[in-house]
């Protein structure tokens, strides 16, 4: 797959680049941001995947989160894909901000007209890592994932569905229990149809209950003043309860005064990067 470099900016002695490529899974051109720390000049670095939330592109995270300093210090390559296929001309993809374009929900859709292009789960777990491993100085054995909101949901399910693939996972205000929240219901019914059993395969709370794999160490930050929390979109308690039951280690931090924005992400991104570095650089 040919990679086309869209932009490159030096940042904290590393390079923040944006590439475009033709995605096989998504059958369209996809962009992604990639930060290469200074260490990548001389050796292979671990890879940390960031999944953004609803309405985001590859740009939001790389310009607002302020993660490059921590990434540079810890020597991590950070990849931030887009949140859905773009320009596929599917009817209705731009109707809502929480479904379709910018709202891929990191599932492999089974319903028409979405099933051809909306295969974000496979893109994130298969195609993108292969592409990155082939074209960048990353260590294929050391990979972690994190994300925000819908991306948090994506990170959690990718990790829970692929035990051992990711060394660590963390999330900012994730949608923890989509089958029970409005966003989740809307998206899953659109992408996956009405069979709720198919939905559970993409629900972190459900996945944890049957998670067989090795220990994960999950860090979750949640703004206390996050309106979506109050709106019941996120439902962290359910996830925590399930993890407690299953003895999956989670540290869930309710951050006083913080909301759902990138300001909240920027505040705690360093903690998350350190959390991942602990496992990726071990």
């Amino acid at each position: 797959m040919a990679l086309k470099e869209i932009s490159s900016n030096k940042c904290f002695e590393g390079l923040q680049k944006v590439f475009e490529h033709d995605s096989v899974e998504l059958s369209c051109k996809m962009k992604f941001g990639i930060y290469l720390p200074p260490k990548a000049e001389t050796e292979k670095c671990p890879a940390l995947y960031w999944l953004s939330g609803l309405t985001c592109t590859e740009q939001n995270f790389i310009s607002k989160a302020g993660y490059q300093q921590a990434a540079s210090e810890h020597g991590l390559v950070i990849i931030a894909p887009d949140t859905s296929p773009r320009g596929c001309s599917i009817k209705g993809e731009d109707e809502s901000w929480d479904f379709g374009t910018g709202a891929g929900f990191y599932v492999d859709a089974t319903e028409d007209p979405w099933k051809t292009n909306y295969r974000m789960y496979s893109y994130v777990t298969e195609e993108l890592p292969r592409l990155i491993n082939a074209n960048f100085p990353v260590d294929p054995q050391r990979m972690s994932i994190f994300g925000h909101s819908m991306g948090g949901h994506g990170a959690l399910i990718c990790a829970l569905k692929n035990p051992g693939k990711y060394k660590s996972v963390s999330a900012f205000a994730p949608i923890c229990n989509p089958v029970l929240c409005p966003w989740g219901k809307k998206a899953f019914s659109g992408y996956l149809g009405t069979d709720q059993s198919k939905w559970k395969a993409y629900d972190a709370t459900h996945l944890v209950k049957s998670y067989p794999g090795s220990q994960l160490d999950i860090l979750i930050d949640q703004g206390k003043d996050d309106q979506f929390l109050t709106d019941g979109q996120l439902l962290p308690d359910n996830f925590i309860a399930a993890c407690t039951e299953k003895k999956v280690p989670v540290v869930f931090r309710l951050q006083e005064g913080y909301d759902h924005s990138y300001y909240f992400i920027a505040t705690f991104i360093t903690d998350h990067i350190r959390h991942h570095a602990k496992y990726l650089n071990a």
């Binding site: 160490d217 860090l219 993890c243 280690p249 540290v251 869930f252 931090r253 309710l254 350190r274 602990k278």
Partner: protein, 731 residues
């Protein structure tokens, strides 16, 4: 002056060295000196040599010159020289063979002309040397006034070899007849060996010179010593004699004076008598005159006066006239008492009693806890047979009390006095004794025994990766001057590491800088005027992780610490709550205890094993955290609190009563706590799964201590001395 030195090698004779005329000493390598004999030879030689020519290249000439060399060598100047020696007392010198290179024959000869060997003063050695080598070519006898060369010239055509047996060069032709059975060697070789011999003798001579010089010096010293000794004796004698003389003079004076007075007394008495006599006489005469006058008077008057006169006379004559001389003219025999002089005289030839020794001040580090080594000196040449050392302890109590004095007799000028009490001052004084008696006592010197060794409080050692704080008991009742901490790195059992010492420690504790992840053996000594004590029992300190003891003074009454020092237990049974004493160091509300963490800024890590179902609080607090409050309820403490209620685990991270909202799904059994002064952070970890739980940012203006509390009966176990795990290092 031909003498033999005792012990000189048999083939070498003693040459007399005049102590006071050093310029006459032998110069073994004479250069530029002249000798008459040589000059004579030189003249001869120069006649024989080619003026300006060098012998090189002319074979027959060379050989002749070689022979000449040899001759010179052996005869050391030849026959004629002996004669001249005897005449002027100069002796030949050993030629330096280096000065006889073939090619420089002429030079050598020239030098020979300048060379001489003064100072020998004896022909004997020279003659002996000559005899040793045996050869004086031709006619080496005193008959010849000069060295006879012409004979060699006659033989320049003949080949010469050297007969070792006869020690003479001989013509090759003659070998068969006279020297047929003798050992014969080539002339060259003989020359070489002769040169070697000369070398050896040169060396011996040099040595002899050195020995003699040393001996001379030594003698000089002895001279001086004799003078000194004489001087001392003289002085001693003089002073004694003077004493005697003075005494005698004094006696004389006294005696004279006494006699004079006696005389005066006698004379006065006599004079008195005389005066009395005179008076008597006068009276008699007067009476006589009166009587005579009376006789010339008229009868009537005569009878009147006569009667009166008769009365007067009668009275007068009745009074006794003492005509006895009361005073004897003789003087009694004086018994002259010279006993004290006699005594003095007697002591003249005996030794004086010694003068007082001088007792030395205590040498540093010469004392032990139970003994001191007392030294003194005698600054005179007095003969001393023994010393008497006395001592008693110095006490602050009233001087009226007599302390027991101990005395011992020693022959040396030092004594190790044992059986003493540590860290105590003793007063010492010493006298010297000999046959004449005892010296006056020396000054008193105070010696002090070293202290007893301290005892390190091993259970209270605080350490971290960079330092250790140890404290100890003095081990002595009275104060000592200071303490010294000694530490050695424990590397391998065989290797003895360098011992580092920290000296001058005023109090019973010390904070010592150390290297991380090592083991050290540390011990303490107490120090006083007498020196250091023996080493205390050592303790081992490991600089891995941080180690702190629990501070029993802070322990809430309902908590107990097990014997291991690290298990904190709150038992089911509780004592009734006590009134908190004011100013108490114990926790009164919160059932807590604090540790004593070493006051070193850096990173400290420790772990606590907890019961999942226990209600506990762990964290840090300042020394002065209010003990009547709960941990975390004020600004002086930061802690993690766990409550287990209704099957739910609740976690709080408390400071100043505030806690963030934290949910933890896996309940930690072992909590790791990282205190980072540098970054002002306090972090908590689930050690078993390497999970970071929470980090406080805390302003730590002073030093904090670990604190632990149990809100319900249960136990927790503290683990110390653990190196920071890798996952912790990320924080």
């Amino acid at each position: 002056m031909d003498g033999k030195a005792a012990g000189a090698p048999p083939d070498f004779h003693f040459y007399p060295m005049d102590l006071y005329d050093p310029e006459d000493r032998l110069h073994p390598f004479p250069e530029g000196a002249t000798q008459t004999g040589r000059e004579a030879y030189a003249e001869m030689a120069e006649e024989a040599s080619e003026p300006g020519g060098v012998a090189l290249g002319k074979a027959p000439r060379a050989q002749e010159e070689e022979v000449d060399e040899l001759v010179h060598l052996y005869a050391l100047g030849g026959a004629g020289e002996w004669g001249s020696e005897l005449a002027d007392g100069s002796a030949p010198c050993a030629e330096v063979p280096e000065h006889l290179p073939l090619g420089a024959q002429r030079d050598w000869r020239g030098e020979a002309g300048e060379r001489s060997c003064p100072g020998w003063g004896a022909a004997g050695p020279g003659r002996d040397l000559r005899e040793a080598y045996g050869y004086a070519h031709g006619r080496a006898s005193e008959e010849y006034e000069c060295y006879v060369i012409p004979e060699e010239e006659d033989e320049d055509e003949a080949a010469l070899v050297f007969c070792v047996t006869c020690k003479a060069p001989v013509r090759a032709l003659e070998v068969s007849d006279e020297h047929g059975e003798h050992e014969v060697t080539a002339l060259d070789k003989a020359l070489e060996s002769a040169k070697d011999e000369v070398h050896k003798n040169m060396f011996k001579l040099e040595k002899q010179i050195l020995e003699m010089e040393n001996f001379a010096n030594h003698l000089e010293e002895v001279f001086i010593t004799v003078e000194e000794n004489f001087g001392r004796q003289e002085q001693n004698f003089e002073s004694h004699y003077n004493e005697i003389l003075e005494t005698l003079a004094q006696k004389y004076e006294e005696k004279m004076q006494a006699l004079g007075e006696k005389k005066k007394a006698k004379l006065e008495a006599l004079y008195g008598q005389l005066v009395g006599c005179g008076e008597n006489l006068d009276t008699c005469k007067e009476l006589m005159e009166t009587i005579e006058e009376m006789c010339h008077e008229e009868k009537v008057d005569f009878i009147k006066d006569a009667v009166a006169m008769a009365d007067r006379l009668g009275k007068f004559l009745n009074t006794d006239t003492d005509v006895e001389i009361t005073t004897q003219p003789d003087f009694e025999d004086q018994t002259l008492d010279f006993s004290d002089v006699e005594q003095l005289m007697c002591s003249l030839h005996t030794l004086p009693a010694p003068s007082a020794p001088v007792i030395n001040p205590q040498a540093p580090n010469s004392a032990t806890g139970s003994s001191v080594r007392v030294c003194w000196s005698l600054y005179s040449d007095d003969t001393v047979e023994s010393y008497q050392l006395s001592y008693r302890p110095v006490r602050d109590s009233a001087p009226g009390k007599d302390q027991a004095v101990f005395t011992m007799t020693v022959k040396e000028t030092y004594c190790s006095v044992t059986n003493l009490v540590p860290n105590t001052q003793y007063e010492f004084w010493v006298t010297a004794q000999n046959k004449a008696g005892s010296s006056p006592t020396s000054e008193r010197a105070v010696y002090m025994t070293a202290p007893s060794p301290p005892i390190i409080k091993s259970k209270e050692i605080q350490s971290c990766e960079e330092a250790a704080l140890i404290c100890w008991e003095s081990g002595n009742l009275n104060p000592v001057d200071s303490y010294t901490v000694e530490l050695t790195q424990v590397e391998t059992p065989e290797a003895s590491g360098v011992t580092e010492s920290v000296v001058g420690i005023p109090a019973c504790e010390s904070l010592v800088q150390l290297q991380p992840r090592q083991s050290y053996t540390m011990s303490v000594r107490a120090l006083n005027m007498g020196g250091p004590s023996a080493r205390s029992d050592p303790v081992t300190v490991h600089t891995t992780g941080s180690r702190f003891p629990l501070n029993q003074h802070t322990c809430h009454p309902w908590l107990t610490v097990a014997d291991d020092g690290f298990t904190v237990v709150r038992s089911e049974r509780e004592a009734p709550p006590k009134e908190p004493l004011p100013g108490n160091t114990r926790f009164s509300r919160c059932v807590a205890i604090m540790g004593n963490l070493i006051p070193v800024r850096g990173r400290h890590y420790w772990e606590v094993e907890v019961d999942e179902r226990a209600d506990y609080t762990v964290g840090v607090a300042f020394d002065d955290v209010p003990k009547e409050e709960d941990l975390g309820a004020n600004r002086l403490s930061w802690c993690m609190r766990h409550r287990f209620a209704s099957s739910r685990h609740e976690y709080e991270f408390l400071h100043n009563k505030a806690t963030p909202g934290i949910r933890i799904t896996v309940s930690p059994r072992k909590i790791g706590i990282l205190l980072d002064y540098e970054n002002s952070k306090l972090s908590f970890f689930n050690v078993d799964i390497s999970q970071h739980l929470y980090t406080f940012s805390c302003q730590l203006h002073g030093f904090v201590h670990p604190c632990f509390s149990l809100e319900k009966p249960g136990r927790l176990r503290i683990r110390n001395g653990i190196a920071m795990p890798t996952h912790v290092t990320f924080y």
